[in-house]
Symmetry: C2
Subunit: 250 residues, 2 copies
């Protein structure tokens, strides 16, 4: 399995054609995509291309946002944006609000990011894509058609974990492959049925790519994973979201 | 970054010399290890070599284990083993006990595994290594000395996550490199200080290797990661464990 980061990707601005940017980089600096390649894109470039910016001075904070803002020591207008992006608030602590994003993932501050934004006079933040699976699928179709091969696409982001220090990449959107491999019915090397039944392969690949994307100041928002041989096909990433009823830690 | 699984590793038994097994595989089937390579080992082969088996019929269940066993529908003797390996019980549900292992990681059933064990007449289970950092360090010294290069070593295991479906590889022990990269003081590509401060690089690499180890019936318990360029040096993996006082989800 080989991973390489795409070269020559400049700052993305709203309206940019991400597929075209990737094709340009691949054509100029790398080999063409191959059958079964998985291309992993940092959420930020997708969000930027989709213009998912919000200006803080345009937000009106509700009473609830003001209260939460006092509790977590955040600008109530930023809290309002977090609430608008979320369907549930799990924890509020100084400096952080842990929510369930409307797309299902539990994420600090609804994944809203202030770093890596070009300086503007008015303060703005970057929201996650509206529908990362749909964004991944659009990119998959464009790239697949251009290179004439079947591909997987992952949009990844980094998040903290409940019991471990440090962030880790995970998949907020996927297209073209099965993100959750079901091991039911498979036996281990001794013929015994396995206790572990499902492996979050999309998150494992997202984490691998996140490592390579590495430090933000290197600016490597796209990684190709070659040789992973995922199970290609039409699958949603929502299978990776634990149902609220099965959640032991809410 | 390139990852490859080591070929020709047979079933490991107590007393086996894992370093020797890895050297044999590398010498026979692959190139020598290179400066900065990270070698990732599945917990199972380390535990098996260290003889971390427990026989169920030798365990005497305490009253507490009997109670918990009824609650989660598990053999009270297995529950006793789980408790013996743990310092805290977080959740008990049918089929699963979520505990904090003595080494700090939050892990279902204390990482005790029944799959992938060779059949024996008496039922036995496999516990995690006593001290995975120490085990990783011993392996690092042996491999580093044999190949004459500086290396990183990870012992990985798979675990479920609080809010996401499917297991994912993570690092239960590391040696020879910094498992948690601190981004404090680094600025992003726009010169703005980054909000994200620490990246769990050992877990990202453990997840990548876990993907390649893939299905258990393929029997690939060792993966070399080349080109990851980790920060080499003497670091413990305990920095990846969130302090109980900072835990919002216990």
């Amino acid at each position: 399995m080989h991973l390489f980061a795409l070269e020559g990707i400049a700052e993305v601005i709203p309206g940019d054609d991400v597929a075209e940017i990737l094709i340009e980089s691949l054509t100029t600096h790398h080999d063409p995509l191959e059958e079964g390649d998985v291309i992993v894109l940092a959420q930020k470039i997708v969000s930027k291309a989709e213009g998912r910016y919000a200006f803080i001075d345009e937000v009106e904070a509700s009473e609830h946002a003001v209260e939460l803002g006092a509790e977590c020591d955040k600008d109530p207008r930023l809290v309002q944006l977090i609430l608008d992006e979320s369907e549930d608030v799990l924890r509020v602590r100084p400096g952080v609000i842990i929510v369930q994003h409307k797309r299902g993932y539990v994420h600090a501050n609804a994944g809203i990011d202030r770093s890596n934004l070009p300086e503007t006079e008015r303060e703005r933040v970057l929201l996650l894509p509206v529908d990362s699976d749909a964004s991944a699928e659009q990119l998959r179709q464009r790239l697949s058609s251009h290179f004439g091969v079947n591909l997987g696409v992952i949009i990844n982001d980094s998040a903290g974990r409940a019991w471990r220090v440090g962030t880790q990449g995970f998949a907020i959107g996927t297209a073209g492959f099965n993100p959750l491999i079901d091991m039911v019915g498979k036996s281990d090397r001794n013929g015994r049925a396995m206790e572990v039944t499902e492996v979050a392969v999309a998150d494992e690949l997202a984490a691998a790519a996140s490592y390579l994307m590495g430090q933000a100041n290197e600016g490597k928002p796209a990684v190709v994973i070659r040789g992973a041989k995922p199970t290609l096909g039409d699958y949603p990433s929502s299978v990776l979201i634990r149902d609220k009823k099965m959640d032991m830690f809410r």
